[in-house]
Amino acid sequence: MSNGTLEIKAISGHAGPVAGRDTSRDYDVCKLIDVTTCIGCKACEVACLEWNGYPFRETVFDNTYQTMPDLAWNYYNLIRFNEHVAEDGTFSWLMRKDGCMHCADPGCLLACPADGAIVQYANGIVDFNQDNCIGCQYCVTGCPFNIPKFNHETKKVHKCTLCSDRVGAGLEPACIKACPTGCLHFGSKDDMKDLADKRVKQLHEHTSHKSAGVYDPPGVGGTHVIYVLHDIDHPQYYGGLPKDPRVPLLVRIWKGPLKWLGNFAIAAGVIAAATHFVRYGPKKVEEPKKEEVV
């Protein structure tokens, strides 16, 4: 690809190395979601839908301000509303923009068997290519954040692309553009980390949020979507954000040792059979009486 911004550094289900494997860009992209300044206005939800051209859907009132219970194949961006009462009785209304975290070590890509259905660009964006998707949903299994969603009709899986089309053209993602309060930021990972750290320091020094922190989970190699949370010790309060997300161990075993062991075993089996044949040859049938063979 001539466009360096979207150079690919990892491909799912791909035999052999990838052209862009060792490329290093000056910066990775990153979206910073400062949950402490999110007002749950849903502008990001609408911007996401409109940019991706998805239709508006029928939803049902569900005793919450949240648009719907979960993300959908054509709804990449959902603000999760959670009422939380702390042990000391302090009430908080937490609003977290949920969507793909664009892990540096993406479980979806690891789990995906289809060549080129999931790619990771050198800038950190993890993108699904539905043309290559086979609909197995192993990505769903590989994802520690419950993000990819399946379209039953097309048998394809979708998720936030971090607006790779926009970013490739030098624009910020649509959600960033729409955010009215500046809760969403977009830039290089270093800059966003820096901004997030400063905000956390500010929260520690000037507010009651003494356990504020940056959510950039190392279990998945860090993410290209990071959060500033009021309470980094309890990410689960924010609508089920996992405390220490990792690519599931069994998925790692499956895609790691088990795969190689299996490959080896199969190859060894075939070779053993061939060797056996060469060494011992076919079994002979005993011929007890000549006259019996006409």
């Binding site: 197995c136 399946f150 063979v293 006409v294």
Partner: protein, 222 residues
């Protein structure tokens, strides 16, 4: 060759080993398993992804793999109904298995006489039989992962590994099965295609069965 084969086919010497019904059953089973094997291997390792491409493309493979998996399961149950009694492990089989090293090194004269199916065949049967259940059970979870809530994600993880391990075990058996039936024991494939084996073949490989179906000690008597 053709004359010989034809001669063999009509030979009065031939003993029917598999009925037509059994042969159809076996090959349907084999077809379903092989398809699942090929597509499964394609999903299993990028180095074999081309298998799916050859079989009509990966999305198509993903679509048919679980359906033929069900087909395989049904064929297996059918097989079980027909062959279950033949496949019970007996003292004879245990003796065979204790002498399996002689069998494997083609010192067949040291191997005790066997029934219609020897201990190894029976073991393969049971391996496939139980493997089918494991594959079906775990496969259903892989087929419809969207219905498993995220809080039960561990179930999906476990099932994927289970499916894989079960598949690998059956593959192991399958390699042995194909090797033996195609290469190691000439006449086996023929038997599964045409249904009959020569008396000598039967006598050599499954002497107890041979005695049972021919009615006595064949050696020099006829």
């Amino acid at each position: 060759m053709s004359t010989a084969a034809a001669t063999h086919y009509v030979s009065s010497d031939a003993i029917q080993r598999y009925t037509f019904h059994e042969r159809v059953m076996h090959w349907l089973n084999a077809l379903a398993y092989t398809y699942c094997l090929a597509t499964g291997l394609a999903f299993y390792t990028p180095h074999l992804f081309w298998l799916a491409v050859m079989l009509g493309g990966a999305p198509t493979s993903r679509f048919w793999h679980p359906i033929l998996g069900i087909g395989f399961f049904i064929a297996m149950i059918w097989m079980h109904v027909v062959w279950r009694s033949d496949m019970e492990i007996t003292e004879t089989d245990k003796r065979f298995l204790s002498n399996v090293e002689d069998y494997a090194t083609n010192r067949d004269d040291r191997v005790p006489p066997q029934e219609k199916y020897n201990g190894g065949q029976k073991l393969y049967y049971w391996l496939m039989y139980y493997g089918t259940f494991l594959l079906l059970f775990s496969g259903l979870f892989l087929w419809f992962p969207e219905y498993i809530s995220f809080s039960l994600a561990w179930v999906r993880h476990l099932m994927i590994v289970l499916h894989e391990v079960a598949a690998l075990i059956t593959i192991g058996g399958f390699i042995v099965h194909v090797y033996m039936s195609v290469f190691l024991v000439p006449g086996s494939t023929d038997a599964m295609i045409h249904g009959s084996v020569s008396r000598a073949w039967a006598r050599t490989h499954h002497r107890l069965w041979y005695i049972r179906v021919t009615g006595g000690d064949p050696v020099g008597k006829e």
